[in-house]
Amino acid sequence: MKVTLPLTREVLESVQIGDVLELTGDIYTARDAAHARLYEAICKGEKLPLDLKGKIIFYCGPCPAGPGRVIGPLGPTTSARMDPYMEAMFQQGMVAAIGKGDRAPYVAELCKKYKGLYLLGVGGAAALCANAVKEVEEIAYPDLGTESIKRYYVEDFKVIVGIDTQGRTIQEENIPKYRKR
């Protein structure tokens, strides 16, 4: 399903786990160190370097761009490390996060409560993934190197719905189907 960003309420609440979305528009990278800084700023009541309202956050730290490329290989990192920040990010207006791997059970509850999504990228398909990124702009924390906050303009960036707004989780429903022990 092709989706133009920003995500509308209608799309957010109609997609279900396992749906494959091809995103076109702006997404914003933030992983461990950027989350720690954003969270500190939120706790102190400071102004954030970007308005999170309606934004999709991509847990990603790319490789540097080689000659003739806008960005190097990139892909989702393990989302569970960002679990402790998830509620604060939703409260600031984030509507979805892109990462990889299963998360703490409370994240599904948060997706339900704040009507947000957890989207899964394909971990380790980094060279292909970079092809979907057409434009890159550094937004904040340049001293963090690969962990700085960047805006990516992506075209047909493929993600799979991992947790939907009903709080259903793809792993919880799919793994038992293939379990044989």
Binding site: G75, A125, I160, I175, R179
Partner: protein, 280 residues
Amino acid sequence: MRRIDTSAVIPVIRQLCIEACQQLSSNVTDALRDARAREESPLCQEILAMLLENAAFASENHLACCQDTGMTVVLLEIGQEVCWEGMPLYDAVNEGVRQGYRDGYLRKSVVDDPLLRKNTGDNTPAMIHVDIVPGDKVTITILPKGAGSENMSALYMLTPADGVQGVKKAVLEAVERAGGKPCPPIVVGIGLGGTMDKAAFLSKKALLREIGARNPKPHLAALEQELLEEINKTGIGALGMGGTVTALDVHIEAFSTHIACLPLAINLQCHAYRHACATI
């Protein structure tokens, strides 16, 4: 006695870092192809196909196949007849890593202090292991180790009474707890015996063996096979999406241990089963 200037390792390590990160071996792509053929979940089949396409694209375009180009684990097997000259050997190793990560456009993923966490900017220091072996050659192996899988590793100080059943239980527990986080299909490196540190090192070394190769000791080879089958019954599947191929292989490296000990280290490796090796 063979005299070698330590600077000779710099270009070799530079090249091995780039090669390991950009080029998955045919041993790995064959294993992924075989996994796709055996996989029952259509979604996981699609993911495995995408990983194969990614490996080919990365290799053709000289790109890292995964953005997590890891901490650089360097194993040096140094012949005892080698006499080093020049700059300190570890400095030369780190210079090779520095050049490889710069010139290969690989990600710099190392922070200087585990609590202060400032990026060193050049992916050094490397994790260097040295082994002294007979002869006058130096064999250098590079293993770029990503953190998604490294974080899911585990250490169990089992007791002799736990025995092989305890080992099986712990390995399955570690794999199930890891779920999709270490980017399955994984290779499970197991270090068994020795002391705590020896077991941990063996579990890392187990990740250098070719997929499909068994431990020469029959009881360990049988245990590898049994664990592989059990892990593939967990239903975790590629990237934890639910499927029938969770591991590509299980490798056990064992060593003698204390009468009171049964150390078990489990080092997980993602599907980007990367390493490269050269002899000088």
